[in-house]
């Protein structure tokens, strides 16, 4: 009972500290909020509010009698209404003019379609390059244009493969057959309507595509929450040293309260404070940024794992210190390094399967990050469970070491 009184007292003190409040709630929400504002309102829309990029096309394609001017179809596709929010397309006669416009800043990107673009379709061996040039000072806009262009060219590659395959199977095609094939393909292909395509191009089945920005902001929020939860754990555990220096811990030991009860109360306070922080951040992120945290059962496991590891790691870190003056350096170093390593996938966009993907698992933050991201991406309970068990094992080890050091210290 007395340990609960001690824990509640510490909780009250934590939430009366402006410094603690800023670090517990302010910074994680502000950083996530910055990204949220940078990329628009992901909660209500599925589109991105980015200014349209000025694109200049130099279509040098001379066409062929069999295929017609295929370069013109690229021009038309990019000038379509559905892309008008992303790019403003204009055309010029030469490559030099197009490059000049990018150099002068009057266009953000230039696309140069070579003269033998159409011709390459009748010759299976021939390859041509469509050039894309962009203003290096612009980042997001030209990247989107490039992405759209790549998708269109992928379709043309499909046509080229179809023609090559048909020629191979028929043992050669005359001009009429090629013309008919291309026209038949082009007629049915309206970028997305492939009902009459001669080649049925299928993409592998995958889970429904989620809002990428929501996923990104969600992972940022998760990373920030984990990162700062560990600081809260360490900072709250640091109250043991602070009370030791203020003399209140000694005073507690002079009351008819056992040492075990006092330490239990202090440890309970660490867990409670982290728990409140995590719950508040999750609810706030859901309400403010529309972040989907995943299935509740999985999420509960993640929260328990986070609270346990952050608290026990904080207790262990504090047990290594002699005074609170050391804690700035130790926490700054230890928690920043382990935090960065633990969330290397979030910070660098590195996939978990890459060689670097295993690095986070050398830190407790990494285990939590894996579990939380896995939950957010909709993985099953069975997939989360190993990470949860890993977190529990780590917490037990940290807690035993920390408690052993503290009991030795106050014995």
């Amino acid at each position: 009972m007395k340990s609960i009184t001690i824990a509640l007292k510490d909780l009250t003190r934590s939430f009366r500290s402006t410094f603690a409040l800023v670090f517990m709630f302010g910074i994680p929400l502000i950083v996530t909020g910055m990204f949220y504002l940078m990329f628009g309102n992901i909660k209500s829309e599925d589109t991105v509010n980015i200014a349209a990029t000025k694109v200049v096309i130099a279509n040098l394609d001379q066409g062929t009698t069999e295929t017609g001017q295929l370069g013109k179809t690229i021009e038309n596709a990019l000038s379509g209404k559905n892309l008008s929010g992303i790019m403003e397309v204009s055309t010029v006669a030469s490559q030099e003019q197009a490059l000049q416009m990018v150099n002068s800043g009057s266009a953000g990107a230039a696309i140069i379609i070579p003269a033998d673009f159409s011709k390459s379709f009748t010759d299976p061996e021939k390859t041509v390059d469509v050039s894309f040039v962009s203003d290096p000072t612009l980042t997001i806009g030209p990247q989107i244009v490039k992405s759209v262009l790549r998708q269109i060219l992928d379709v043309y590659s499909g046509i080229k493969i179809t023609i090559a395959e048909a020629m191979k199977q028929s043992g050669g095609m005359d001009q009429q057959q090629i013309t008919a094939l291309v026209q038949q393909y082009m007629a049915g292909m309206q970028f997305g309507t492939e009902s009459s395509s001669l080649v049925d191009l299928k993409t592998p089945t995958a889970a429904p595509q989620k809002n990428m920005l929501a996923t990104m902001v969600g992972s940022i929020m998760a990373g920030m929450m984990i990162f700062f939860a560990y600081f809260t754990g360490a900072n709250t555990a640091n109250s043991i040293l602070r009370e030791d220096e203020e003399g209140t811990l000694q005073r507690l030991f002079t009351t008819p309260t056992s040492q075990a009860e006092v330490l239990r109360g202090k440890f309970m306070a660490v867990g409670l404070t982290v728990l409140v922080q995590v719950i508040v951040l999750m609810v706030a992120a859901r309400l403010l940024f529309g972040i989907e945290w995943g299935a509740l059962s999985n999420l509960v496991l993640c929260v328990i794992g986070l609270v346990l590891t952050a608290s026990s790691f904080g207790i262990l870190a504090c047990s290594l210190l002699k005074t609170t003056k050391q804690s700035g350096v130790i926490f700054g170093g230890l928690l920043t390094v382990t935090g960065m390593l633990g969330m290397i996938n979030i910070f660098t966009g590195n996939p978990q399967g890459s060689p670097l993907g295993i690095v986070p698992l050398f830190t407790p933050q990494g285990w939590v990050a894996r579990a939380v991201l896995s939950t957010m991406s909709g993985d099953s309970l069975m997939k989360i469970l190993p990470f949860f068990l890993g977190m529990v094992v780590l917490s037990i080890v940290f807690f035993i070491l920390g408690v052993w050091r503290f009991q030795k210290r106050f014995a």
Partner: protein, 396 residues
């Protein structure tokens, strides 16, 4: 959106991430200077005897009166029985902080541990509070009995009998006085209506009822000191420890504290008081134990301790030249038992000042040393300490 765009976003994230981390570190480093602010040295205490008496008249201390009467009947019983306390600190070399300390404290008395800094008073009181465990070993076993309860074998029961007022203020500055007292009351095992009642009574007692909901951090030093004492009184302890409560405070506040201690004794409380100020021990104490180098070198009432000096008189002389010229001659002079060179004077313990003083003048004249002032003092605790250790209490 493709991977390229995400990478661009992540590169921005990395920058922001690092920026926020640097901010964390800077804030974190900055936060620890706050601890320094808790060390407050200037205190005031308005827990005056008259204030306490007024409260008694108002009937708010009826419970204490009953308690006082109850213990009056057992005046001669022991509140504390301390046997053979030893403590050695090993930090590279071994330092015997407390070496075989034994004493008894009767109920309802003020018992003072008097000694210079480093004499072992705080280590002793730390053992008596249960903060340090006495060393085992030696021929005699250590024992601390408080109202008959052994602190060593049943610490929680014994701790329930004591209230400790630490030397420095030990309160939560970000909590209000009411919250502090409520919290500490719970730690002493009070709950429900009893807790509420005692917190109210103590707030009245320390005169802070009207500011009970202000945070302690906003209080003046004197107000904090009052709360600090109030915490120790919450559970109406049988014995109260006060560890050098007047160190580093102004004379007015010291006066208030001394009056407060006397008032507590008048209520029937047993007080264990540590100090290195001779005057405080003389004024407050029913009995005094003088400590030096971890041992009790004398123990008794004020008069009993003075008798240790016998008929000796303390003489303080100042001379017009360096002391070195005359010190050895005066030390050898018949009737001089101790001589101590102070900063600007010489302190002598002599058998009979009427006989010894002319001899001292004679020896000075021979060395062409002029005595510029003479102060003959009645024996006091300072004299006793000088007699027993050959050193002055304040310089030891």
């Amino acid at each position: 959106m493709n991977n390229k765009k995400l990478r661009v976003s992540f590169s921005v994230l990395i920058r922001v991430g690092f920026l926020s981390i640097i901010t964390i570190i800077l804030f974190h480093l900055g936060s620890f200077t706050i601890v320094e602010k808790y060390i407050v040295r200037k205190y005031r205490l308005d827990l005056t005897n008259s204030a306490l008496l007024a409260k008694r008249e108002a009937g708010t201390l009826v419970a204490n009166q009953k308690f006082s009467q109850k213990w009056e009947n057992k005046k001669m019983t022991l509140a504390m029985n301390v046997q053979n306390l030893r403590k050695t600190f090993r930090n590279g070399s071994s330092v015997k902080a407390v070496d075989g300390v034994s004493f008894e404290v009767k109920t309802g008395e003020i018992f003072s541990l008097l000694g210079p800094n480093g004499a072992g008073k705080t280590t002793t009181i730390s053992m008596l509070s249960g903060l340090l465990r006495p060393d085992n070993g030696g021929s005699e076993k250590s024992e601390i009995l408080i109202m008959g309860q052994s602190l060593l074998s049943d610490p929680l029961a014994a701790k329930a009998m004591i209230g400790v007022v630490p030397q420095d203020i030990a309160l939560y500055e970000d909590l209000t006085a009411l919250e502090n007292l409520t919290f500490w009351g719970k730690m002493y095992g009070l709950k429900g209506d009893q807790l509420k009642k005692r917190v109210g009574e103590v707030l009245d007692l320390i005169g802070l009822s009207d500011r009970a909901k202000d945070r302690v951090g906003k209080y003046s030093g004197g107000m904090k000191r009052r709360v600090n004492i109030g915490v120790a009184l919450l559970h109406e302890p049988k014995v109260i420890y006060m560890d050098e409560p007047t160190v580093g405070i102004d004379p007015q506040s010291r006066r208030s504290i001394l009056d407060g201690v006397l008032a507590l004794r008048n209520q029937g409380m047993t007080v264990l008081y540590t100090t290195h100020y001779m005057e405080e021990a003389e004024e407050l104490s029913d009995r005094i134990a003088i400590m030096d180098h971890g041992k009790i070198i004398a123990n008794g009432t004020h008069d009993e301790l003075i008798q240790l000096v016998g008929q000796k008189t303390k003489i303080v002389l100042t001379i017009n030249t360096a002391a070195g010229q005359i010190v050895e001659d005066w030390k050898r002079c018949e009737g001089v038992s101790n001589l101590l060179v102070d900063e600007s004077s010489l302190v002598l313990l002599v058998d009979d000042s009427n006989i010894v003083l002319p001899r001292l003048f004679e020896l000075a004249a021979k060395k062409d040393v002029r005595i510029t002032s003479v102060d003959i003092q009645e024996p006091n605790l300072e004299t006793v300490f000088l007699h027993l250790t050959g050193r002055a209490l304040r310089d030891a």
